[in-house]
């Protein structure tokens, strides 16, 4: 198995020259802190009955922020229910991310100009969407690329094969980024594949496969930047396997104690992706406790503001549920709407 690319070690030491400038690294770290505040807030809100089921991403912040940091503002991101950090960093408003998790379709509406699809809930069907979007941008000659995020479990789906194959055959400007977080609900990586490495699968499609330390912001960013550059220059797709870990449950309805030893999760908590960036930033003098506290406070404000805005919105009314099936409601839908409003 390939040794994963690592630039930033868990103790905060750096091998080689990071591509992220100290300022950019600090910005990315702030985003990681904000994402963690968001993630923990959402889990807490679910326990309070304020959100529907929530899928926490704790432990995967470097993979999500680091990969998106390699994108341009108008590039496509096609991701999953566990990728709110990535979606937010690519411009998807936090209010609508939360709104979606409260159980409200309006949360699926990012701002105009933000090319981020609402999260895919089915596993594995969305990677080909990124391939199609990238293909369209290639045909249009826009220079945009598409990044798709998915988990190790998604690589078992047939649609993974079709997405990888189409991307490679048509050399679409796509980055296929697998957050190999060790677990697909209760099934460990070993039960998804007998391959030594998911990245090895790329060979069979005729595209490069790269393995990175998914808890290393710098390595994730470097690998994704190289893949994005390759895509943008017309050389086709890249598969990236980021080795990370889902330190929390699959969702708020899940109990990992039923299928895995907490010692394993504890080991990964020590490899916390935030901690090592902070250690590094502190050694460069770009970070200290005051700044940490200021960032955490700002993140809390941002998240609370988004929560308040989401919860202030009245739920969709009976008539509204008919309003987005088609561009224009059909006569039959109009009749059904009137019936609901009449009969309840």
């Amino acid at each position: 198995m390939t040794t994963p690319l690592q630039i930033l070690a868990p103790d905060g030491t750096v091998r080689g020259e990071p591509q992220l400038s100290p300022e950019a690294a600090a910005r990315a770290y702030e985003a990681m802190v904000t994402a963690r505040v968001y993630d923990r807030k959402c889990s807490a809100m679910q326990r309070q009955g304020r959100l529907a089921t929530y899928a926490p991403f704790e432990g995967q912040e470097a993979s999500q922020i680091g990969s998106v940091a390699a994108l341009r503002a108008d590039d496509w991101l096609v991701a999953t229910y566990r990728d709110a950090a990535a979606m937010w960093y690519q411009g998807y408003g936090m209010r609508n991310l939360i709104l979606g998790r409260t159980g409200d379709e309006r949360g699926g509406h990012p701002e105009e100009g933000v090319n981020v699809l609402p999260p895919s809930i089915t596993v594995g069907g969305h990677m080909i969407h990124a391939v199609g979007a990238a293909w369209a941008e290639q045909i249009k000659g826009s220079g945009r690329i598409a990044l798709t995020l998915f988990g190790d479990g998604a690589t078992s789906e047939g649609d993974f094969h079709e997405a990888m194959n189409f991307a490679a055959v048509f050399a679409t400007p796509t980055v296929l980024f697998c957050q190999d977080n060790g677990w697909a609900i209760s099934m460990p990586r070993e039960r998804q594949t007998a391959a030594a490495s998911l990245a090895d699968k790329a060979i069979g499609y005729g595209m490069p496969g790269v393995v990175v330390d998914g808890n290393d912001l710098f390595a994730v960013h470097a690998a994704t930047s190289a893949a994005a550059e390759r895509a943008r220059s017309g050389d086709g797709p890249t598969f990236i396997e980021a080795l990370t870990y889902r330190v929390g449950p699959h969702t708020t309805t899940d109990d990992p104690g039923r299928y895995r030893d907490d010692a394993e999760a504890a080991l990964w908590r020590e490899r916390d992706p935030l901690q090592r960036v902070r250690l590094h930033l502190e050694t460069t003098g770009a970070w200290d406790e005051d700044r940490q506290q200021a960032v955490e406070a700002a993140a809390t404000d941002l998240v609370e503001e988004a929560v308040a805005a989401a919860e202030a919105l009245e739920p969709l009314g009976p008539g509204d549920i008919f309003a987005a099936t088609f561009a224009e409601a059909t006569p039959a839908l109009e009749a059904q709407r009137r019936r609901l409003e009449r009969d309840g």
Partner: protein, 324 residues
């Protein structure tokens, strides 16, 4: 005007659509071969390999990629070779194509056309003869168009490509070259959701669509010879469908026979009967008859004729409504 088969009319319509730079045709063997039914014959040469795309053999990939293209602003036309091969793509169709507008509250849409040749009658191998239109009609967010003649095929294809929502465009295989008529050379568009009253009459209404319109017209001709005044309706579109035209007709004639090729139970004909029961019950002079395929797998070539409703089966049903 020129005489065209349905296959030629769709070819004309595809060529007209492809003159817009945002339209892409993709599918298995649609380019070099011109499609398994030659419906896209000559288009690769005219529009090039970037716009007329021969894909790997992967129906889910075709529809999933078309979805991504549509979301990113193109107008893809995806072809599945036979309806029996559309099931691998069904997840993409029902879980993504049909839902993205609702999922994103209009922020993202998938205005693609999914062309699927359907139906029995050519003695093909297993999986090549299905009539699963109900599966698509039952999926909220899809429009379903089923032309029965060249004029409609070209005009409805233009409407499907222009439509802001995804359209499943079903092409009747056994009518591809069997139905011909003169159609305009220039582009034109027909409205989705509007039926045609092909023949006006006062005794009984025959309602059908797509491939079964041939047998329906033949039965109507026989009945006319016997002095029965038959009204013939071609639905042309199943989602949305033109219930008002059907209700109006049956209120007038008092008798209705619904003709579908698909399996009998929970076919689209059942929906028509239910609507007529709600809206035309007191005008009925006889129970509504359904002439359908059976709740069996479509038989292979040597027994296929037992499945597909023929003229005799339609005439028997009409006779029952006239004598009850």
């Amino acid at each position: 005007m020129a005489e065209r088969t349905i296959a030629q009319a769709i070819n004309d319509g595809l060529a007209e659509a492809l003159t817009a730079p945002d339209v892409v045709l993709l599918g298995e063997d649609v380019g070099a071969t011109g499609g398994v039914f030659r419906v896209s014959d000559g288009l690769l040469e005219r529009f090039g390999a970037e716009r007329v795309v021969d894909t790997p053999v992967a129906e889910s990939g075709i529809v999933g990629a078309a979805f991504g293209m549509a979301v990113a602003g193109l107008r893809p036309i995806a072809e599945i070779q036979f309806m029996g091969f559309s099931t691998p793509a069904f997840d993409q169709v029902i879980n993504h194509v049909a839902r993205i507008r609702n999922r994103s509250r209009h922020r993202f849409t998938a205005p693609l056309v999914l062309r699927i040749p359907y139906g029995a009658g050519i003695g093909a191998a297993e999986h090549h003869s299905e009539s699963w239109e109900t599966l698509y009609v039952h999926t909220p967010g899809l429009k379903v168009v089923v032309p029965s003649r060249p004029f409609d095929a070209k005009g409805l294809l233009a409407a499907a490509v222009a439509d802001p929502d995804p359209v499943v465009f079903l092409e009747p295989i056994r009518s591809y070259r069997a139905v011909k008529e003169e159609i305009p050379d220039e582009p034109y568009m027909l409205p989705i959701g509007v039926a045609t009253v092909e023949t006006e009459g006062s005794d009984v209404t025959l309602i059908s669509w797509g491939a079964m319109m041939r047998e329906t017209r033949q039965a109507a001709a026989v009945l006319a010879g016997r002095g029965v005044s038959v009204e013939v309706i071609d639905l042309r579109t199943l989602a949305p469908w033109d219930a008002p035209s059907v209700v109006e007709s049956v209120r007038k004639t008092g008798r209705a026979v619904v003709i579908q090729e698909a399996a009998r139970s929970v076919g689209f004909g059942s929906e028509i009967v239910a609507e007529l029961q709600e809206q035309a019950l007191y005008a009925l002079l006889a129970p509504i008859e359904r002439v359908t395929g059976w709740d069996t797998v479509v038989p292979l070539r040597r027994a296929e004729q037992h499945y597909v409703p023929g003229v005799e089966r339609i005439l028997s049903a009409v006779d029952r409504t006239l004598t009850s």
